[in-house]
């Protein structure tokens, strides 16, 4: 787990964007919002910088020459769980779905207002912050809120901050169904009604990590017409 979102620390972002003007503009804006920003113009450069400098968060353009944003996202997710926010062309196309499946935590649509991007960045960084100090067990899955870790059969699970926060919010109300919009407010801190695919994609990724059989989940259940529910095992 990355030591992200410490209040006394300036967040360190890696911006991967091939267009010079957009990269410069966003760098200017994000720096002004109080972030430390490193930039890369291609996926390959981005991956190299990521390994060298270990940023807290990555803002990733989807359309990149060479290896594209999805591939960058997948490669990072093989070993690391740091937050990734996608820059996409539009909200309703396949890019969003593929990007979320590749492991992205959130997305923004170009042209993005810097303050919107900043709000998303701060929200995703807050997800990793610890809050209480108890722990709870659901069958073989143990959630340790003080260490912000989740273990399954004693093995540490590698969860992204968003996945972890989703699991925490669900485990706070075991047996109670939460709607996608509720989860968007609680986990993603979306003020307005947001894109339910964020929740669905994150639930899928979380199930892949915590469920014994992800296609037949017993812990995180779908409540048809409502949303999701964490069921303590019988």
């Amino acid at each position: 787990m990355h030591p992200v979102g410490q209040n006394d620390r300036v967040p360190f972002l890696l911006l991967i964007e091939d267009d010079d003007a957009i990269r410069t503009g966003l760098e200017l804006a994000l720096t002004r919002q109080g972030h430390r920003v490193a930039t890369a113009a291609s996926g390959e450069d981005g991956l190299r910088l990521f390994k060298e400098q270990r940023p807290d968060l990555i803002v990733l353009d989807v359309m990149l020459p060479g290896i594209d944003g999805f591939e960058v996202c997948r490669r990072i997710r093989r070993s690391d769980q740091l937050p990734i926010i996608l820059l996409t062309a539009r909200s309703d196309d396949i890019d969003v779905v593929v990007g979320l499946e590749s492991g992205a935590d959130d997305y923004v649509v170009k042209p993005v207002q810097p303050r919107v991007l900043d709000a998303r960045i701060r929200a995703v960084l807050r997800r990793g912050e610890r809050e209480s100090s108890d722990s709870s067990a659901y069958g073989s899955v143990v959630i340790d809120r003080s260490a912000m870790t989740v273990t399954k059969d004693g093995q540490d699970l590698q969860l992204t901050p968003t996945e972890l926060r989703l699991l925490l919010e669900l485990s706070r109300r075991p047996g109670q169904a939460l709607s996608r919009q509720q989860l968007l407010r609680l986990v993603w801190e979306h003020d307005y009604l947001g894109d339910s695919r964020l929740v669905d994609a994150c639930v899928q990724r979380l199930r892949a990590k915590v469920e014994d059989v992800p296609s037949a989940p017993t812990l995180i259940r779908t409540v048809r017409g409502v949303g999701y529910r964490l069921d303590p095992p019988a």
Partner: protein, 516 residues
């Protein structure tokens, strides 16, 4: 495709349609069958009729010739044995003799010398049964001349006695002998002729049936290509421009099929050219707006910085900076709307639906744009529907923004649950929409110059709102309220209709085996 449609239709409707098609008077099949039947009937009836009459004549003539000849011979042989001034029993004897030697006929003999005596070989037959015309003809002497050596002749007539046909013949025995009549039953001949008639009638009937079947077969061979042609024409009309017919044979129908094929080909080529041209221009607009967006993204990224710093700038420069900032945002909106329109035109716009509370959605739209003071909200919570929150937010923002801009506050938003959907009414307190503008409010780039202030939007807002409502299976109507002010009414179904290409993950995000 047709099979699929038919399969969906209730059976009764299908049956009725089939019956209608089959029984439709004036249809080619009915006409063909009728013509064949008339031809067959005419031919069979005339052939049978001629055959019957010829046969009847021949049979009767033969029967009656032999009977009359026999009667004449028998009479002349027996009459010689009759004594002069014969008594009644003598005459009866003569009648019996003639009858017994003959071909089964009855003989009645009368003599002027013995009035009141009825000499008959069978008591059922008397002179009264002989037609008076025949009696008159027999009794009337003819002038004897060169062409006529005898005064009296043998006469005959066919009569009906008690329902049975009889041949009655009579002659006077010259010169002063008695008059003899014979009754020959024609029952056998009639029975023969009846049998013949029945046979002919059955043959006619069979010919008629055969003709009908033949007509069916003929109409099938003609009608199958006709039906194929009709089906192909219908498919072509439905837009399946690759529809072609198989040309077989060298008849008129094959010619028609060839013409159909070449017409369809020409049509397909034309449509293809037109749609290619249209797609090209659409792609141009889409590419163009896409290209415009990249610099706009960079510019938008720094507008916040410029805006924040504007106050600290030289008063000469500050308005210029503010202009750049505001126009960058406007351009950005315009390009975004343009791209949205091209997506709707290309049919690539997708719905990302979730079940949400409409009141929440309206509230967040108003909240997000800081319109709270200018809008009166009458939205009970609990009105839920499957909608795309982002698209509905665009609809509300356009309708409320439009009302605020043109009508002025207070703008009233009412959300109500309808039986089959949700209704959202946005009414303003402005001057309303002029009647000549009303039909065009949803048109693209339609500027209502006369009644309304300069359109500050892209001119696409309401048309995008409409397209967004329609992609949900809903609609928006514009009207003027009786008490003044414009009213836009959005109607949405509780669930959008299924569309090909929608993200199936929205409906069932987790697949099988997980029903909570």
């Amino acid at each position: 495709m047709t099979d699929h449609h038919d399969g969906d239709r209730p059976l009764s409707t299908l049956g009725r349609r089939l019956l209608m098609t089959t029984l439709r008077l004036g249809s080619l099949r009915v006409r063909l069958v009728a013509v064949f039947a008339v031809v067959a009937l005419t031919a069979a009836v005339s052939a049978s009729g001629i055959a019957y009459w010829l046969n009847r004549d021949a049979v009767l003539k033969r029967a009656q010739d032999s009977a009359l000849k026999d009667f004449r011979v028998s009479l002349s042989r027996n009459v010689s044995g009759l004594p002069l001034g014969a008594s009644c029993p003598d005459l009866t004897g003569l009648a019996n003799d003639v009858a017994s030697s003959g071909l089964g006929y009855t003989v009645v003999v009368v003599d002027e010398a013995q009035p009141g005596c009825t000499a008959t070989s069978d008591s059922r037959f008397t002179l009264t049964q002989v037609p008076s015309t025949l009696v008159a003809a027999v009794d009337r002497p003819r002038p004897v001349g060169e062409g006529n050596p005898y005064a009296y002749h043998l006469y005959w007539q066919r009569v009906d006695l008690g329902g049975a046909p009889y041949l009655v013949g009579g002659t006077k025995v010259v010169p002063t002998g008695p008059t003899a009549y014979m009754f020959k039953s024609l029952d056998n001949e009639r029975a023969d002729l009846d049998t013949l008639g029945w046979s002919l009638a059955v043959a006619t009937l069979l010919a008629l049936i055969a003709a009908t079947l033949l007509a069916q077969a003929a109409s099938a061979t003609v009608l199958r290509p006709v039906r194929q042609l009709a089906d192909a024409a219908r498919r072509l009309g439905e837009g399946k421009l690759d529809t072609r017919l198989t040309v077989s044979g060298a008849d008129e129908l094959a010619d028609l099929a060839r013409t159909f094929n070449s017409t369809a080909e020409a049509l397909a080529a034309q449509v293809e050219e037109l749609s290619a041209r249209e797609a090209q221009s659409r792609r141009f607009v889409a590419d163009m707006s896409h290209e415009l967006r990249t610099p706009l993204t960079a510019m938008t990224a720094v507008t916040d910085i410029l805006e924040d710093e504007a106050d600290a700038l030289d008063p000469m420069i500050e308005p210029a900076v503010r202009l750049v900032v505001s126009e960058t945002r406007r351009l950005s909106d315009l390009v975004e709307n343009l791209m949205e329109v091209t997506r709707f035109d290309a049919g690539t716009a997708k719905l990302v639906a979730d079940e949400v509370d409409i009141a929440d959605l309206v509230m967040s739209c108003i909240d997000g744009r800081a319109w709270y003071d200018a809008v009166e909200l009458d939205a009970p919570r609990g009105v839920r529907a499957m909608v795309d929150p982002r698209r509905l937010d665009v609809v509300f923002a356009n309708l409320i923004g439009n009302a605020l801009k043109h009508g002025g506050s207070p703008v009233r938003v009412q959300v109500s649950q309808e039986p089959a959907g949700v209704e959202v009414r946005v009414s303003d307190s402005g001057p309303g929409i002029p009647p000549d503008v009303l039909p065009h409010v949803f048109d693209r780039f339609y500027k209502a110059d006369k009644g309304r202030a300069r359109s500050e939007g892209s001119g696409l807002g309401l048309s995008i709102a409409m397209a967004n409502a329609q992609i949900h299976g809903g609609t928006i109507t514009a009207a003027n309220a009786p008490q003044g002010g414009a009213v836009f009414t959005l109607w949405l179904p509780l669930k959008p209709p299924p569309r090909p290409g929608d993200d199936p993950a929205d409906a069932a995000p987790n697949g099988a085996g997980d029903h909570g």
